[in-house]
Amino acid sequence: MATQHEAETVRRPALSEYLRWSVDHKIIGVQYGVAAFLFFMVGGAMAMGIRLELWTPTLDLMASGSAYNSLFTMHGTVMIFLFIIPMWAAFGNFVVPLQLGAKDMAFPWLNAFAFWLIPPAAIVILLGYFVTPAEAGWTSYPPLSTLFSGDGQTLWALGAHLLGISSIMGSINFIVTILNMRPPQMIIWTMPLLCWAVLATSIIAVMATPFLAGALTLLLLDRVAGTTFFDASGGGDVLLWQNIFWFYSHPAVYIMVLPGMGVLSEVLSIHCRKPVFGYRMVGLSSMGIAFVGFTVWAHHMFTSLQPELRIPFMITTMIIAVPTGIKMFSWLGTIWGGKMRFTSALLFALGFMSMFVIGGITGVMLAALPFDIHVHDTYFVVSHFHFVLFGGSVFAIYAALYHWFPKVTGRMMNERLGRIHFVFTYFGFLFTFFPMHIVGMLGMPRRVAVYDPNFTDWNQFISFWAFVLGFSTFIVVYNVIHSYFRGPVAGANPWRALTLEWATTSPPPVTNFDDDPIPFEDPYGYGTEASAAYLDAVDAAFSGGRPTPDGNQAD
């Protein structure tokens, strides 16, 4: 067998293959990833615009408050619908079939179709910015989104509709792939934790996204067909939108962060050379979060809800901290006493842990009703969800990028640049968003361009570090491009990892595996002689036993 693999030259797909329709999950994964990252840059540029406007307490960059409204509306929409959610589809697409030893996703054509819905949706949404832009925020509450907005809002709803359809189709594909296409030796309890996370995420997406689709359908009818589902003056119900929207969008928060939690379990275990602490509980806690996530939506409506419903939602919201806490302690237990290799992937994973725990704690604070009413609609809330979505999701996305880049391209990323990138991102992020807690508690409202001059110093501090954070993105862009062409050859298994995606060439051949791969009995069983023998066998099969780039063969 060894000779057959050595004779194989590892061919990377031509760059033009990424611009065409392709049903190969590895191509589609990269298409998702590159497209999502481009939208990250677009949304990031909008964030820079927001921070530039907030440099002074008066209007300067923006012509009017409305222009500012549409700017942060687009920022939120692009980052959530066009960046984070598709970005997880990127890693899910590339990695999950490989981890399952499958040759492709269950429905390759559907997979490609789901991706190709994204460019038209993005065009529709972004075009809206140039007509009469949507300015009701990414949550688009009526009556702002019905009576007080123009055609851009209609285009926004159409684009979001398309993205929802794409997300549902992609998720059906993941569920079927994960449940039906594992190798016979891999029961669900020996499945890699990323697959558990993607499974939980996809179940949420299939069950929650249709709520968004339904709400958007009614919103579009209100906007174009003269109905009054959300208009109280026409017998409609304004709160109906908030209820349906958050019944989707709160579970969607977990769509955005659960895959990142799966990435954390992979990266921490592999780069600390230790089994995952409490594997079963981590897998089950993903399901727990998915389930409890459906019972907490109205905590977004504490100030608009019937008062008697507030306490029940306060309780369920606090309960969801339990499965999340299980994960946090599992990660701590995993790195405890581990043989840590401070790779860029591990640094970002540790960054995730430190930032997400802050976001989680402020989440419990916001769940407490009296506190929530005090900081409602202030920068405290902005800070909280950026700690969860940037400190959480984006840090995990970077960890996943540094971790799987060698598998995708066959080249290692530059670790020195990776560390520089980490330092800029970590401190840029921390000093941008942590002070927002303070200005929020001092009473600075969100979603305004003109603020009390007393907050000027804080805002200039925040804006400065936001620009540092914005700059850090260019480091990773340079690193990716440079490493794609000049990075050292990675070999099949540079991290000496046990999951199946590393038991094939980098990048994998079109059919992923030449033979049906046999998974190691425990996907995280590091530190045993059996696992060392398995890893040596993988190395021997794919790189003639060549040492890994960091020369570290020992386990």
Binding site: I175, V176, M207, T209, P210, G234, T511, I518
Partner: protein, 212 residues
Amino acid sequence: MAELTADSLHAVATHDDHGHISEDEHNSNMKLGLWLYLASEIVIFSIMIVGYIIFRINEEDIVAQAHDELGVALVTANTFVLLASSFFMVMGLRAMQQGNRSGMLRWIGLTALGGIVFLGGQYIEYSELAHLGIVLGFDDASAWSTFGMRFYAPTFFHGAHVFVGVLWALEVMRRGAKGRYDNNPIGIEMFGLYWHFVDVVWIMLFTLIYLV
């Protein structure tokens, strides 16, 4: 190396279009995928159905008046046509499973016809209602001001599903005529699951809007 070669685990020889997986696996993937899709459809319908229920509880007068105007005879006949088409659908699948291709084409053709008749009935009903002044948009001047949207949104959304189902039935006939399902009728079964789903949703809407 024995760990990696896996001689004992050859993939099943039959391949589907993508050359990846066995027929059994393909069939079970398709069915699970369709069930998940139908689960997401249930959510969308349930939003409109719950919206109607809330409206019905709050606005009993308008609903009572609407019941007087809505002709139950036409829509009952329509419901039976749709139910019958589900039966034709089952017969079509059975015919294909017995290897009777032309029988399958006849039964699925009848299924599509049932769908078309249903849509025609719905068109007639909509025309009559429009004549009475029940329209989709909100109209302050009309006594029906808020009934129209609650009525048209779920029934039209359902009608759109029947329309898609008719197109799907025609596609099943086209493929079936080429012998696509001679060995593996999964494609017909998939269409059947969808068609039964559309039928079940209609029974709920019919009960809720016309009977209760």
